[in-house]
Amino acid sequence: MADLKHYDFSFEELCEISELSSLTIIEIVEHGIIEPDGADPENWVFSTQMVAVAKKAYRLQRDLSIGWQGIALAISLLDELEQLKAENQQLRRCLDRFIADSAVLFPNRHTR
């Protein structure tokens, strides 16, 4: 089976790929927004998923003028929200197999 953690990036590579400055990335890591393996920038290892999160954090910070702590909170809440919506959708699909037209009983508006 293919090794799914195949695509990893070093700190320098992340800067290249994401086009974020090293300072920005350090802020993002220091606020725990992404948590690379490795003890210091020289040894940091980032996954593809982390690239997307870093860019998102930067965009929010730039566009909404929020401090990094606020961004960290926003991102963790947005993540949780996304997960909850996915779970919701999943449960809904399962429920529909048992209850006819379950949306009449549970008109949840929070699905992905």
Partner: protein, 313 residues
């Protein structure tokens, strides 16, 4: 060209003070930011709101806009009055696109997008990254799978004009991918400027909902409909798995909701496979002939089972 009512866009009155305008902008910006909003036109609305604020927050720009608003006829489309080019200059370049309307009055500020100060400011810029969803069937996750993805790519033609071009790529999806996983395809994004590299393409895996199976982590779930007599007497049920079929024996007096675990018939993961859970659901036939009905009546008379025993007090 359409006249843009910046006051309406921000939801404020034309005599609103700068504080009100700022508050209105902040509310709408966080509501419509594409990273936050589910709204299908979020990006457009966000740009619109940002542009409106860009004008109304600056006293000089606002004044010029006011003049045009008074002067312009927006019944028959907007015509800028002669000599209406702005003389104000922004200190902080706005990092967005402007509508034609804005550019006509205020010109292009800072010549387009600026980025984080890391990139070469002048003429070498990495192309934009593109992110797109890649639908994958559950069956396709069982082994490495070759798929084709089509997406829209901005390309420069011979005149240097940007056009949206349809591009197709072959991609290998590794076995066991989960919903939401991102795959990066280097250099397959928008072309770079000058000597800049191409941007990258990010595929976001979306597992297509299966008509039979529900997914929970690396396990699969299937509802197994059985006849009442099968539940009563026990039976051998042939259950479809993602690939192939499995025999499941259900014991006598099985209940709706009971789970039967079929090891290793779920989705692949790093250390093997998840499981398939068949969940029993007793279903009734919708029609009955007289002979069958008689049997049911006999059963009703003979059996002493009370399904609502919990209710009576």
């Amino acid at each position: 060209m359409e006249f843009k009512d910046y006051y309406e866009i921000l939801g404020v009155k034309p005599d609103a003070d700068s504080k009100a305008i700022k508050t209105a902008y902040r509310k709408l910006a966080r509501k419509y930011h594409p990273d936050v909003s589910d709204h299908h036109e979020a990006e457009e609305k966000f740009k619109e709101v940002s542009e409106a604020y860009e004008v109304l927050k600056d006293t000089q720009k606002r004044a010029e806009y006011e003049e045009i608003r008074e002067y312009g006829n927006y019944g028959q489309g907007f015509q800028p009055p002669p000599g209406s080019q702005s003389s104000s200059h922004s200190n902080e370049p706005y990092q967005g696109d402007f509508s034609d309307f804005f550019s006509t009055i205020f010109g292009d500020t800072a010549g387009g997008k600026t980025r984080d100060f890391r990139s070469d400011y002048a003429f070498n810029q990495k192309g934009q990254d593109i992110e797109t969803d890649m639908p994958v069937l559950l069956e396709e996750t069982l082994s490495n799978c070759s798929k084709t993805i089509s997406y829209s790519l901005p390309q420069r033609d011979n005149n240097g004009q940007l056009r949206e071009v349809n591009k197709t790529l072959n991609v290998t999806i590794p076995a066991g991918v989960r919903d939401g996983k991102r795959i990066r395809l280097k250099g397959q994004g928008a072309p770079g400027i000058g000597d800049g590299l191409n941007g990258d393409l990010y595929l976001r895996i979306r597992l297509v909902p299966h008509p039979l199976f529900d997914v929970e982590a690396h396990n699969l779930l299937i509802i197994m409909p059985v006849a009442p007599w099968e539940a009563a007497l026990g039976a051998k049920i042939i259950v479809p798995a993602l690939s192939g079929k499995i025999n499941v024996s259900i014991p006598a007096n099985s209940q709706t909701g009971q789970r039967f675990r079929i090891k290793g018939k779920g989705l692949p993961h790093k250390h093997g496979h998840g499981d398939l859970f068949a969940v029993l659901k007793v279903v009734m036939p919708t029609t009955t002939d007289d002979e069958i009905k008689q049997h049911w009546e006999q059963l009703a008379n003979k059996a002493t089972f009370d399904p609502r025993a919990d209710w009576s007090n």
